[in-house]
Symmetry: C2
Amino acid sequence: MKKLPDKTVERLSQYRRTLLIALGSGKHHIFSHELAAMLHITSVQVRRDIMLIGYSGTLRQGYDVKELIEIIGKIIDSKDGQKVAVIGIGNLGRAIIGYFSGKRTKLSIVAGFDVNPDKIDRVYAGVWCYNLDRLAEIIQKENISIAVLTVPAADATQIADQLILAGIKGILNFTPRPLNVPSNVYLEEYDMITSLEKLAYFVKKV
Amino acid sequence: MKKLPDKTVERLSQYRRTLLIALGSGKHHIFSHELAAMLHITSVQVRRDIMLIGYSGTLRQGYDVKELIEIIGKIIDSKDGQKVAVIGIGNLGRAIIGYFSGKRTKLSIVAGFDVNPDKIDRVYAGVWCYNLDRLAEIIQKENISIAVLTVPAADATQIADQLILAGIKGILNFTPRPLNVPSNVYLEEYDMITSLEKLAYFVKKV
């Protein structure tokens, strides 16, 4: 199967999350317009995405929730799962680890890294925090492919370079420092201040 | 001036952040292609956005960094600043408060809220944590217009309804639960699992 577009993958992940919530509240069938309303998008968009992954519902009942969850999983998850490291065990790093612990997902956080001696060799929600100087060693030993970067902005560039050298293939950058990565590394960036500033702009003139 | 598009505001905020970094490293002029490269977008996009806010650089020197920072501020910031509350003082809530403290921004976090008695009436990086049952009272007294939601998913919908009743005009939702808000309230949603799942999808077949 060809690579799906960026935004489609994002929506598939959101569909699955929303379907899991629906299933949890006892809903076994769902219409495209219901899923669309929950996610503030159009039902045309929902139907197009789901057709793209080769699934279709029935006119009378809509999509089978369980089946659709499974099919999305087959498309976006890796069969054997993927391992994630969190670099920087401050409040944000700990929030991410806590958020993942106990979630049914094919992604598992298997290591944390920090430079603070008070944090090194401690366990956070089941995840061991290593000394940052063991970054390359642990990434290779554990076969970690994805890194979440929550270090101070000033350290972001240098640590990203180390991650790439160590063989990391995907970086989720939560620092406000934009990164440069080679074309075989996938980068996602999120900066909270941008989100808040955008919100503030639209709020100020309402 | 007419409302700018969503994505333009997002990029303006990113330009400003990048320009502040450039200024910090002693750079006083910058070309559109340099700014574009730092943010992984095209220089055509940069020039279009900056023309849209009525600014232009010179052919020889590019944009004046300080001037451009100021002009972006005039467009996206509110003159008198805006007040923000963080609902849920867990790791993520504390990360957001810490991230903002000491930043030069027109947005200020003026209150936190939680239900945990160990957190209530304590100060986190200069921000007072109130009992959640005082939500409406404090929002109105402090004239808070924006709320950052970092509560457990199961509480998200109910607390969002309370925020809207209390007069909040913008919500940044970090819970995995999609929200519904009336059309006079602006909503931004961010879910880390979606970002990570997207990353994982693109990484798995590289």
